[in-house]
Symmetry: C2
Subunit: 158 residues, 2 copies
């Protein structure tokens, strides 16, 4: 039915490749993300937990004072998951939660001055990582890639 690589002595150094499944958007999306995330975290050891949540911090920087559930939606996490994350980032004085006058249930999120600085520095390193990751893909195609990913995100949100 399928090849059985273990029967003969054709052991390669190469990574296993799957069937049709392996050539799907879903499969490669996942694998690429796992590798990218790990790769980025391995290279950045300072700044505490901030690197791991750089995406969130970017959103907060661009949209200061937003309530937590909106932030959770933006990055695709549960609001309950965000609590612990924000607790830690607040303890490290990257950001802070403050009351919002409009809604006494909500607590808006702002970056601290230190947080802004950290984000700026990490963004530069993220750009390096981006470059390494997409090396060999022409700029034009990269833009198209980003566009298509945005398209997929929109499809999945509706």
């Amino acid at each position: 039915m399928h090849d059985d690589n273990s029967s003969s002595k054709n052991e390669q150094e190469s990574v296993l490749r799957g069937g049709e499944m392996e050539a799907s958007v879903g499969y490669r999306l996942r694998l690429a993300q796992i590798l990218a995330y790990r790769n980025f975290e391995e290279k950045i050891t300072d700044h505490g937990v901030a690197p791991r949540y750089l995406g969130l911090l970017g959103i907060v920087s661009a949209n200061p004072g937003q309530p937590q559930n909106k932030l959770a939606d933006a990055i695709g996490l549960q609001k309950s998951s965000l609590v612990t994350i924000l607790d830690r980032l607040e303890k490290e004085e990257i950001l802070e939660r403050r009351a919002i006058p409009q809604d006494r249930r909500a607590r808006g999120v702002w970056l601290t001055p230190r947080g802004e600085k950290v984000v700026t520095e990490l963004a530069a390193r993220a750009a390096d990582h981006e470059e390494r990751m997409a090396k060999g893909i022409p700029a034009e195609d990269r833009e198209r890639l980003i566009e298509m990913l945005g398209h997929i995100i929109d499809n999945l949100r509706s």
Copy 2:
């Protein structure tokens, strides 16, 4: 410095968008993957834990009898993480571990007949999911997308 949406009454239903960061491959890769994974799992409630590990099962189906560390590499997980996963899939009789004559340390992984059937069925549903996810992207671009993701994966592996 930045807009402060909370000051005026321009509350939209729309999701927050970040700064330059938001338009990066890394950011969208992660967000798209999170949404895709959740979306897929929400829609498929039967077949136990198999749907979550369909990627792995596809690899096993295409490469029967491979040792566990090769499988871990292929899907970007730690070999220690794979142990629990395989335990569960084995308990559900989707796959089985058997000794390999060539190396007495290793235990190769095979799909059971039932596992093969489950994979076939899930693959069809994954194709549906794929279609929903990529709706609106022409087939030609989709291929290019898959190709670029593969390129990124290769870059991250080296």
